[in-house]
């Protein structure tokens, strides 16, 4: 059975193209448009890895999702790659988390900034879950 990637982004074009790339490389995919939908889908069926956009403009953003997942004993080991549109997103995220915390404390495995090079992303995925 191929491994499954959950792609979470509020930009439908980004989601669609990521699906094409991931399916083209042998992975199965599911998608979500916001944090709430993503968390619901993670609970329905555990994905092997999550590509999570930081989605600063949605009410339930990427940080919210990653915190929910990391505080759930059954889900906390799912690898998460956090994708940001602007590197400042992570700075903004710091405000969100509170000044005393730093990015190292963000509950994700890898940070990647858009635009994403497919080969770099595939390499990171392979490192985390060992290929499809």
């Amino acid at each position: 059975m191929p491994k499954e990637i959950l792609i979470v982004d509020d930009d439908p074009d980004f989601v669609e193209t990521m699906e094409i790339i991931m399916q083209g490389n042998g992975y199965e995919t599911r998608t979500a448009r916001n944090g709430e939908e993503a968390f619901k889908k993670v609970k329905e069926k555990t994905p092997d890895i999550i590509l999570l956009d930081i989605m600063m403009k949605t009410k339930t953003d990427g940080i919210w999702v990653s915190e929910k997942i990391r505080s759930d004993d059954k889900l906390k080991k799912i690898p998460i790659i956090m994708i940001t549109a602007v590197n400042q997103d992570s700075e903004m995220a710091k405000f969100h988390l509170g000044q005393e915390k730093d990015m190292e404390y963000m509950p994700v495995n890898v940070f990647m900034e858009k635009p994403i090079e497919a080969k770099d992303l595939l390499k990171e995925i392979k490192k985390l879950i060992g290929g499809p």
Partner: protein, 294 residues
């Protein structure tokens, strides 16, 4: 005044002189105290003005940082998607599916257009914000201007299963303004009313002459704006919680801030009243400018 000369044997005269000095001294001290009070008041006023200025500068700097961040975000997100689309096609993922390639390329075109539109809006925004550039004005028949929008707006409304009730007065004296900018502002207000309505709702558009002003009122029965969010609706990139993408309301939060600046540049006012889940009313008014014909 000549100093008073007293006879050495006239104590009353001397006492009078001393009383005179004393009186002057008292008056001088009173003046001095008054001056000191004034200085203190001025310095307190200066201190207040200084701290107000400081707070404003801090606020502006924060707003500027936020603005740069928002602009970068709004520009980079669509470009990242276009980048993905190009890569997917270049890397041959859709080699056997020309139809899907075309669909994606069309999406890329739309996204690039969005970026261009955003850049144009930003330019217009800063032009109006700084107030440096003069806007070209001409005599405008508001009745004609609004009638020219009805077809386009009705089409957009019916796509969203919404009906517009037009109540346009045809006896409004002309106003002076920039037709392109006003058209833009009116479209934006009506567009918003449709966008934030629920299917089956009505949007009522009324135009009339009210004393010496032209008044446009757009009333919807839509999702409304939270009371605490009302003061921020004209801030650039602000989007209310109800207007976020998960509610499938597209937009970047630039529209209303541009509308306000366009209206201000015409010496007009904009008022927004709203009840959450009941609807929003936007009222725009412009002075019917009394100006000699060229």
């Amino acid at each position: 005044m000549e100093p008073k000369i007293c006879n050495i044997n006239d104590p009353e005269c001397h006492l009078d002189r001393i009383r005179g000095w004393h009186g002057n001294l008292e008056a001088n001290i009173t003046t001095l105290i008054e001056n000191l009070k004034n200085i203190r008041e001025h310095s307190e006023e200066a201190k207040r003005a200084c701290s107000e200025h400081y707070a404003k500068t801090v606020q502006l700097t924060k707003a500027k940082t936020r603005f740069t961040y928002e602009v970068s975000h709004e520009l980079k997100a669509p470009l990242a998607s276009v980048y993905n689309i190009i890569n997917v096609i270049l890397d041959g993922y859709l080699e056997k599916n020309v139809k899907r390639q075309k669909e994606l390329l069309n999406r890329a075109k739309v996204r690039i257009n969005d970026v261009i539109k955003l850049l144009n809006d930003l330019l217009m925004f800063s032009h109006l914000e700084e107030g440096t550039g003069e806007i070209e004005i001409e005599k405008i028949d508001t009745g004609k201007l609004l009638s020219s929008l009805t077809e386009e707006m009705d089409a957009f409304a019916s796509e969203n299963n919404i009906k517009i009730d037009w109540n346009l007065s045809d006896s409004i004296p002309p106003i002076y303004g920039n037709p392109e900018l006003l058209r833009r502002a009116f479209i934006n207000i009506i567009h918003n009313a449709i966008k934030y309505s629920n299917q089956g709702n009505k949007v009522k558009v009324t135009s009339k002459k009210d004393n010496n002003t032209f008044l446009l009122r757009v009333k919807d029965q839509g999702i409304g704006i939270r009371k605490k969010e009302l003061p921020m609706i004209f801030d650039i990139f602000f989007r209310g919680e109800n207007a976020r993408p998960e509610h499938k309301k597209e937009g970047m939060g630039l529209g209303l801030s541009l509308v306000k600046r366009i209206i201000n540049a015409h010496g007009g006012t904009i008022k927004v009243k709203s009840n959450l889940n009941k609807g929003t009313t936007v009222e725009v008014s412009f002075p019917v400018i009394q100006k000699k014909e060229k």
